[in-house]
Protein backbone atom coordinates (compact mmCIF):
# COMPACT_ATOMS: atom_id res chain seq x y z
CA UNK A 1 0.00 0.00 0.00
CA UNK A 2 1.67 3.19 -1.20
CA UNK A 3 1.00 6.02 1.23
CA UNK A 4 1.81 8.93 -1.11
CA UNK A 5 1.93 8.19 -4.80
CA UNK A 6 2.82 10.38 -7.77
CA UNK A 7 2.41 9.95 -11.50
CA UNK A 8 4.32 9.96 -13.69
CA UNK A 9 7.67 9.02 -12.20
CA UNK A 10 9.56 10.43 -15.17
CA UNK A 11 8.48 13.18 -17.54
CA UNK A 12 10.52 14.22 -20.56
CA UNK A 13 9.08 16.99 -22.68
CA UNK A 14 9.90 19.87 -25.01
CA UNK A 15 10.11 23.52 -24.07
CA UNK A 16 6.80 25.28 -24.39
CA UNK A 17 4.67 22.22 -23.65
CA UNK A 18 2.10 21.98 -20.86
CA UNK A 19 2.26 19.05 -18.42
CA UNK A 20 0.60 17.81 -15.24
CA UNK A 21 1.80 15.76 -12.29
CA UNK A 22 -0.70 13.97 -10.10
CA UNK A 23 -0.44 13.09 -6.42
CA UNK A 24 -2.62 10.96 -4.20
CA UNK A 25 -2.34 10.06 -0.52
CA UNK A 26 -4.22 7.33 1.33
CA UNK A 27 -3.13 8.35 4.83
CA UNK A 28 -6.23 10.37 5.58
CA UNK A 29 -4.15 13.53 6.03
CA UNK A 30 -5.63 17.00 5.75
CA UNK A 31 -2.60 18.78 4.29
CA UNK A 32 -0.67 18.25 1.05
CA UNK A 33 2.41 19.94 -0.41
CA UNK A 34 4.44 20.36 -3.58
CA UNK A 35 8.21 20.70 -3.32
CA UNK A 36 10.88 21.27 -5.95
CA UNK A 37 14.34 19.72 -5.60
CA UNK A 38 16.98 21.23 -7.84
CA UNK A 39 20.11 19.65 -9.25
CA UNK A 40 22.03 20.50 -6.06
CA UNK A 41 19.40 18.64 -4.04
CA UNK A 42 18.06 21.81 -2.45
CA UNK A 43 14.40 21.35 -1.44
CA UNK A 44 11.99 24.24 -1.58
CA UNK A 45 8.29 24.40 -0.79
CA UNK A 46 6.08 25.58 -3.64
CA UNK A 47 2.48 25.14 -2.51
CA UNK A 48 0.43 23.64 0.26
CA UNK A 49 -3.26 22.88 0.70
CA UNK A 50 -5.02 22.28 3.98
CA UNK A 51 -8.51 20.81 3.64
CA UNK A 52 -8.52 21.90 -0.01
CA UNK A 53 -7.63 25.48 0.90
CA UNK A 54 -4.38 26.99 -0.42
CA UNK A 55 -2.27 27.96 2.61
CA UNK A 56 1.22 28.25 1.13
CA UNK A 57 1.87 29.88 -2.21
CA UNK A 58 5.56 30.61 -2.55
CA UNK A 59 7.13 32.84 -5.14
CA UNK A 60 6.92 30.57 -8.13
CA UNK A 61 6.09 31.55 -11.72
CA UNK A 62 2.35 31.69 -12.35
CA UNK A 63 2.92 29.07 -15.04
CA UNK A 64 2.66 26.65 -12.10
CA UNK A 65 -0.87 26.04 -10.89
CA UNK A 66 -1.84 23.57 -8.17
CA UNK A 67 -5.29 22.06 -7.88
CA UNK A 68 -6.76 20.07 -5.03
CA UNK A 69 -10.00 18.36 -6.07
CA UNK A 70 -10.29 16.73 -2.64
CA UNK A 71 -8.20 16.19 0.48
CA UNK A 72 -6.56 13.07 -0.91
CA UNK A 73 -5.41 14.55 -4.22
CA UNK A 74 -3.15 17.40 -5.23
CA UNK A 75 -2.16 18.00 -8.83
CA UNK A 76 0.42 20.34 -10.33
CA UNK A 77 -0.06 21.79 -13.79
CA UNK A 78 2.80 23.55 -15.52
CA UNK A 79 2.26 25.72 -18.59
CA UNK A 80 4.84 26.74 -21.19
CA UNK A 81 7.63 24.64 -19.75
CA UNK A 82 11.12 26.15 -19.64
CA UNK A 83 14.56 24.57 -19.35
CA UNK A 84 14.86 25.87 -15.77
CA UNK A 85 11.80 23.86 -14.74
CA UNK A 86 13.84 20.67 -14.98
CA UNK A 87 13.98 19.24 -11.46
CA UNK A 88 12.49 16.58 -9.24
CA UNK A 89 9.04 17.47 -7.92
CA UNK A 90 7.90 15.89 -4.70
CA UNK A 91 4.44 15.68 -3.27
CA UNK A 92 4.02 15.27 0.48
CA UNK A 93 1.24 15.04 3.01
CA UNK A 94 0.80 15.52 6.75
CA UNK A 95 -1.85 15.72 9.41
CA UNK A 96 -1.87 19.42 10.24
CA UNK A 97 1.77 20.55 10.35
CA UNK A 98 3.20 17.38 11.80
CA UNK A 99 5.26 14.59 10.24
CA UNK A 100 5.45 15.00 6.48
CA UNK A 101 5.38 11.93 4.26
CA UNK A 102 6.87 12.26 0.79
CA UNK A 103 5.95 10.63 -2.47
CA UNK A 104 8.58 9.02 -4.71
CA UNK A 105 9.11 12.14 -6.78
CA UNK A 106 8.64 13.02 -10.45
CA UNK A 107 11.78 13.74 -12.44
CA UNK A 108 10.92 16.40 -15.02
CA UNK A 109 13.34 16.97 -17.87
CA UNK A 110 12.65 19.82 -20.28
CA UNK A 111 14.53 19.64 -23.58
Amino acid sequence: DTAVSQTPKYLVTQMGNDKSIKCEQNLGHDTMYWYKQDSKKFLKIMFSYNNKELIINETVPNRFSPKSPDKAHLNLHINSLELGDSAVYFCASSQEYHTQYFGPGTRLTVL
Binding site: T31, Y33, K40, K41, F42, L43, K44, I45, S48, N50, I55, I56, V88, F90, A92, S94, E96, Y97, H98, T99, Q100, Y101, F102, P104, G105
Partner: protein, 110 residues
Amino acid sequence: GIQVEQSPPDLILQEGANSTLRCNFSDSVNNLQWFHQNPWGQLINLFYIPSGTKQNGRLSATTVATERYSLLYISSSQTTDSGVYFCAVGRPSNDYKLSFGAGTTVTVRA
Protein backbone atom coordinates in the same frame (compact mmCIF):
# COMPACT_ATOMS: atom_id res chain seq x y z
CA GLY B 1 13.33 33.96 6.00
CA ILE B 2 14.72 31.54 8.52
CA GLN B 3 18.23 30.25 7.87
CA VAL B 4 19.03 26.57 8.36
CA GLU B 5 22.63 25.45 8.45
CA GLN B 6 23.66 21.81 8.53
CA SER B 7 27.08 20.48 9.35
CA PRO B 8 29.18 18.81 8.24
CA PRO B 9 28.27 19.01 4.55
CA ASP B 10 29.85 15.63 3.89
CA LEU B 11 30.66 12.71 6.15
CA ILE B 12 32.42 9.45 5.34
CA LEU B 13 32.07 6.66 7.88
CA GLN B 14 33.33 3.16 8.26
CA GLU B 15 30.58 0.64 8.91
CA GLY B 16 29.95 0.37 12.64
CA ALA B 17 31.03 3.93 13.45
CA ASN B 18 28.91 6.49 15.30
CA SER B 19 28.31 10.03 14.10
CA THR B 20 26.52 13.28 14.95
CA LEU B 21 24.90 15.62 12.45
CA ARG B 22 24.05 19.15 13.47
CA CYS B 23 21.33 21.57 12.40
CA ASN B 24 21.45 25.23 13.46
CA PHE B 25 18.57 27.60 12.77
CA SER B 26 18.34 31.35 12.99
CA ASP B 27 14.94 31.92 14.60
CA SER B 28 12.36 30.37 16.90
CA VAL B 29 10.74 27.27 15.49
CA ASN B 30 7.60 25.34 16.22
CA ASN B 31 8.27 22.55 13.79
CA LEU B 32 11.48 20.61 13.15
CA GLN B 33 11.81 17.44 11.13
CA TRP B 34 14.69 15.25 10.03
CA PHE B 35 14.60 13.39 6.73
CA HIS B 36 16.79 10.83 5.00
CA GLN B 37 17.03 10.81 1.21
CA ASN B 38 18.39 7.46 0.10
CA PRO B 39 20.58 7.01 -2.99
CA TRP B 40 17.44 6.18 -5.03
CA GLY B 41 15.93 9.55 -4.18
CA GLN B 42 13.23 8.49 -1.74
CA LEU B 43 12.68 10.94 1.15
CA ILE B 44 11.90 9.28 4.46
CA ASN B 45 10.83 11.14 7.56
CA LEU B 46 13.03 10.18 10.51
CA PHE B 47 11.75 12.41 13.28
CA TYR B 48 9.25 15.12 14.03
CA ILE B 49 11.08 16.78 16.92
CA PRO B 50 10.39 20.47 17.66
CA SER B 51 11.87 19.92 21.12
CA GLY B 52 13.25 17.18 23.35
CA THR B 53 14.80 13.83 22.52
CA LYS B 54 13.52 10.87 20.53
CA GLN B 55 15.00 7.53 19.60
CA ASN B 56 14.18 5.14 16.80
CA GLY B 57 16.43 2.11 16.65
CA ARG B 58 20.00 3.19 15.93
CA LEU B 59 18.92 6.78 15.30
CA SER B 60 18.17 9.40 17.89
CA ALA B 61 17.60 13.12 17.76
CA THR B 62 17.69 15.99 20.20
CA THR B 63 16.37 19.48 19.68
CA VAL B 64 17.25 22.34 22.02
CA ALA B 65 14.86 24.95 20.70
CA THR B 66 15.97 27.67 23.11
CA GLU B 67 19.52 27.40 21.76
CA ARG B 68 18.34 26.95 18.16
CA TYR B 69 19.93 23.66 17.24
CA SER B 70 19.13 20.02 16.70
CA LEU B 71 21.37 16.97 16.59
CA LEU B 72 20.89 13.67 14.81
CA TYR B 73 22.87 10.72 16.12
CA ILE B 74 23.61 7.65 14.04
CA SER B 75 25.02 4.73 15.99
CA SER B 76 26.61 1.57 14.59
CA SER B 77 26.25 2.91 11.06
CA GLN B 78 25.37 0.55 8.22
CA THR B 79 25.79 0.95 4.47
CA THR B 80 22.02 1.47 4.23
CA ASP B 81 22.44 4.68 6.23
CA SER B 82 24.15 6.27 3.23
CA GLY B 83 22.34 9.19 1.64
CA VAL B 84 21.55 12.80 2.39
CA TYR B 85 20.15 13.86 5.73
CA PHE B 86 18.00 16.98 5.76
CA CYS B 87 16.87 19.12 8.65
CA ALA B 88 13.76 21.22 8.03
CA VAL B 89 12.19 23.83 10.30
CA GLY B 90 8.94 25.77 10.51
CA ARG B 91 8.35 29.04 12.35
CA PRO B 92 5.47 29.61 14.77
CA SER B 93 3.93 32.12 12.33
CA ASN B 94 3.61 29.34 9.75
CA ASP B 95 4.07 25.87 11.15
CA TYR B 96 3.22 24.26 7.83
CA LYS B 97 6.02 25.88 5.84
CA LEU B 98 9.24 23.92 6.23
CA SER B 99 12.53 25.52 5.28
CA PHE B 100 15.16 22.93 4.47
CA GLY B 101 18.87 22.96 5.12
CA ALA B 102 21.32 22.03 2.39
CA GLY B 103 21.76 18.56 3.88
CA THR B 104 24.61 16.36 5.09
CA THR B 105 25.75 13.71 2.63
CA VAL B 106 26.70 10.55 4.52
CA THR B 107 28.65 7.74 2.92
CA VAL B 108 29.06 4.55 4.94
CA ARG B 109 31.76 2.22 3.65
CA ALA B 110 31.76 -1.52 4.29
